[in-house]
C-alpha cells in the first residue's frame, strides 16, 4: 500500500505493507540508517524518533498509524537548536562507546530538553530510562544532558 509520510521536513511516498513499523520504512525504504533496530519490542529505545516532537519507539509504530505527522530522525534532529546542542554536548562529554544506542538516546534527550529546559536528575531518569545502553554510558549521558541544559555536569544525586 502507498503511504505519504513527512520525514525531516521532506515528504516521501512509500509502498509498503500497512503493518510495517516506521523503523523499517526509515531504514530500508528511505535508507535513513541512523535509527537503530535493537529489540523490535519498544523496550530498548534504539529506534527512538520524534513524531510531532514526541519521542516514539519507531519499531512498534506501524506506518499506517503515522499519517501526516512530522517525523524527525537522528539525521534531522540537528536542524533544531536544541538537537544541535545535544549532539554537541554528546561529543564534548565523549559519551559514545559502541554508539549503537546513541541515536535513540539523543532523540530522547532532545525531547526532554525541548519540554524541560532545566531537568533535575529525577527528570533525566524518567525521560531516559526507556533507552538502554548496553555499554552503560549512563554516567556520561546524564552529564551531556546537563551540559546541553547549561547545568553543572557533576552528578548531584545524594549519596
Amino acid at each position: 500500500m502507498s503511504y505519504t509520510i513527512n520525514v525531516n521536513g521532506t515528504s516521501h511516498t512509500v509502498d509498503v505493507d500497512g503493518d510495517t513499523p516506521l523503523l523499517w520504512v526509515l531504514r530500508d525504504t528511505l535508507d535513513l540508517k541512523g535509527s537503530k533496530f535493537g529489540c523490535g519490542m519498544g523496550l530498548c529505545g534504539a529506534c527512538t524518533v520524534h513524531i510531532n516532537g514526541k519521542p516514539t519507539r519507531s519499531c512498534i509504530a506501524p506506518i499506517s498509524t503515522v499519517g501526516t505527522s512530522n517525523i524527525t530522525t537522528i539525521e534531522g534532529v540537528g536542524t533544531s537548536e536544541t538537537g544541535k546542542r545535544v549532539q554537541d554536548a554528546w561529543l564534548k562529554v565523549d559519551v559514545v562507546q559502541c554508539g549503537y544506542c546513541q541515536a535513540g538516546q539523543i532523540m530522547s534527550a532532545t525531547a526532554l530538553l525541548t519540554a524541560n529546559q532545566k531537568p533535575t536528575d529525577k527528570d533525566i531518569d524518567d525521560a531516559m530510562s526507556g533507552n538502554l545502553c548496553r555499554c552503560a554510558t549512563y554516567v556520561r549521558i546524564r552529564a551531556a544532558i546537563k551540559l546541553a541544559a547549561g547545568l553543572p555536569t557533576t552528578d548531584s544525586r545524594e549519596v
Binding site: K36, V96, Q102, N131, T137, D155
Partner: protein, 761 residues
Amino acid sequence: MATVTNPRTDDSALSRRAFLSVSAAAGGGMLLALSIPQDADAAVALASSESHPEKDAALNAYVTIAADNTVTIMSKIPEIGQGIKTSLPMIVAEELDAKWSDVHIVQAPLDKVFGMQFAGGSFSTPMNWDLQRRMGAAARAMLITAAALEWKVPESDITTSQGKVLAKDGRSLTYGQLAAKAVKVIPPDMSKLLLKDPKNYELVGKSVGGIDSPKIVVGQPLFGIDVNVPGMRYAVFQKCPVFGGKVVSANLDEVKARPGVLNVFIVPVVASTGLPDGMAMGLQSGVAIVASSWWQANKALETLKVVWDEGPVASQSSAGFAAKAQELSTQVPHKVIRTDGDPKGAMAGAAKVIEAAYSYPFVAHSPLEPMNTTASVVDGKVQIWSPTQYPALGRTLTAKTLGIPEDAITINVTRCGGGFGRRLGSDFMVEAAMIAKLQGEPVKLLWNRNQDLQHEFYRPGGFHYFKAGLDAQGQLIAFTDHYIGYANGPKASNSADLAPAEFPAKYVKNLELSTSTMQLGVPTGPMRAPGSNAHAFVFQSFLDEVAHAAGKDPLQHLIDLYAEERVAPPPPAKGPPGGGPFGNLGPPFSGKRAQGVLEQVRDTSGWGKRQLPSGTGMGVAFYYSHLGYFAEVVQASVAPADGTIKVDKIWVVGDVGSVIINPTGALNQCQGAVIDGISQALGQQITINRGRVAQTFPEYPLLRMYQAPQVEVNFRLTPFPPTGLGEPALPPVIPALCNAIFAATGKRIRKLPIDTRQLKT
C-alpha cells in the same frame, strides 16, 4: 624531544614490495615474535585504496601520507565500543609527530599484513603498544631521511613537529611535501628505532574523543546492520530452540506465500569443521526465509512451523544441573588442580572453620546490535561485511563450511554495536554466507532479538563449595574450593575453567583447588573478563566472609593477604590469570600493585571514615585480570520493606601501567564496565529448560538510567607498559556490591542474580 637517527640514507629507490615486506615483518614480529606472513601487494592495495591513490605514499602498512598532508592510519583491531580505533592510531600519530587534525583513520579489513586482528582479552593494547609506536617512529624516520637528502644536511640537524620536518637553519617541509620522497628511502632498522621519552608525549595521555563519534551523533551508517549492497535481499534464520537440534521438515510452501517472501529453504547442518574452538561451532540446521524486506522476512516467521529433531540436549536443564552439582559437592572431586601444604590437616587443626556454597547462572552478552552479516557469493568468491570481533576465525569457519579456500573470502570489518565477547563467535557470519550462496544473491542476514538472546555463547554458570580455616589469631591458614562447572567431553566448556593460580593461591600456606564437571550441550564462550567475571564474585565474596569471621576490616584483610607470597611460585601457567592463549604479555603478578590500588581506593572512597545511614553499606573487592589491577568499593542501600537495592556510588582504582593512552576513553571503559557488572549482579540470568533458553528479551533485564550509580575512577600509574581496559574493571564490582549488601543488611549474597526477596526485613 628524542630525535630518531637513521644511519642508512640511500637515495636508490627500494622497491615498494621489498620495503613493505621489511616494515610489515618488523612491525608484526617485534613484541611477540608472532609469525606474520608478508603480503606486500595486499598492503599496497590497502594503503592506496582510500582517497587519492595516485598521490598517496604508503610508508608502511599503517601509515600513508597524502600530498595534501592527510595522514591515513590503519586501525587494525575491530571497534566494538572499546575505543581502540581512536587509541591505537593515537600511538602511531604520537611517534610520527603527526598533527591529529590531519589524521584520517581507516578500519583495516582482515589482512595478514596486520598480524593478529581480533578484539578480545583486553590484548589489543599490550600486543600493539610497542608495534604501533615503532610504526609511527619508522615513518617519521623516513620523512627525516628524505628531508636530510633534500636539504643535504645531517639527520641530527632535523627534527619534527605537528606534521612538519624542521631543519636547524629554519627551513621546513610538511609531511605531505616529503611523503613521495620518503617512500623511496630505506626504512630504518625497526629494532633500533629511538622512541620518544613518554614525558615528551603531546597526544598520548591527552583525552581524544571517539574518532567516529561525530558521525554517530548525526546517524551516519557505520554498523554491520547498516550495510547496503546492490541487489541485496533480507533474511532471517530460524534454528531449533534446543541447542544442536535439527530440522526434520517445515511448511515451506505456506511461508513462501507470505507477503514479500522470495524463498524459504532448509539449511542443512554442517556441524563439524575440525576447528578446535567451541566458538567455531559449525553451521547449525535451520530454516532460512529470504524476502524483499527484513520486516517481511521476520513477519513470515509467525507462519513457520518446523518439526524438529531436538536431539540429546533436550534433556538438560538448569534445575537438573543445580541438583547434580549439589550431589557432586558431597563426593570426591574429579580432579585436584592445585595442592599447597596440607589443607586437610590445617583445616582439622583450625580454631575456626567456615564453609559456604556459591553459584552463578549462565549469562548472555546481549550486545544491542543483533547478530547480522551481509554476504555475497559470486563465482565462488565471497564478500562479507560483518560486525565481528574475530574476522579470521569467521573466515576460516566460512571457508571450511562452504568448502572453498580462505583466499576466496574477503572480510570487511564494520563497526560493532557492542561485542562483550559475543562477536568472537562467527555463527552469524557463516549462516549469512551459506544463505547467500544458496539464494544466489547478496543477502543481509539479521537475527531478531529473541533469536539473539536464545542462540548465544553464554557465560557458563558454575558452583563453588568453599571452606576456610582460621587460626586463633584469625589468620587464614587453610583454604579449599571444590568448583563444579561444565565440560564438553574431557575439556572444560569454553570459559568454564579455573586457573590453578586463582587467588588466594600462593598467598595461603595450605590450599586446595579442585574441580568436578557436568557434561553440557549449551554453547558457552568468553564474556567480558571471561572466567574472572564469575570467579571474582565467588572468591572475593568468600574472602569477605573470611575477613568478617576473623573480625578484621575486609579492605585491610585483603591488603594483609597480598603482603607476601607464602608458597614458592610453581612453574608458570600457560598465561596470566584471565589471560589466554597468547602467552605472557606483561610482567608477572605483583602483590604490591594489588596493595597499591587497595590503599588508594580506601582513600578515595573514604572507607571506614564515612557515617552511613542504617540500611546502607560499603563493600570492597580486588581482582587482577587481563594484566590490570582493580580495587573497587561499592556503596549500596537496601530498602527494608521489599529488599530493593540502590547502588549509590562506585569508587574504582585501576593500575594498568605507566600511561593512560586516551584518558577519556579509559575512564569511559571503567565507568561502563562497573555498571555492566552491577547490571549482571542485579538481574541477568539465562535459565536452561529442556535444552533451550527459558527467557525472552523482556525477561532479561539490562540496567537502565534510573539504576545507574555515580562512578569515580582513578588510575594509579606504575612503571610498567600500558595494558588493556576493556575488561579488568568489571570483575571486582560484583563482589564489592555483594559485600556492600552484607555490610548494609548482614545478609550474604551467595547466588547470582541477587534475589531481593531474601533481603526483606
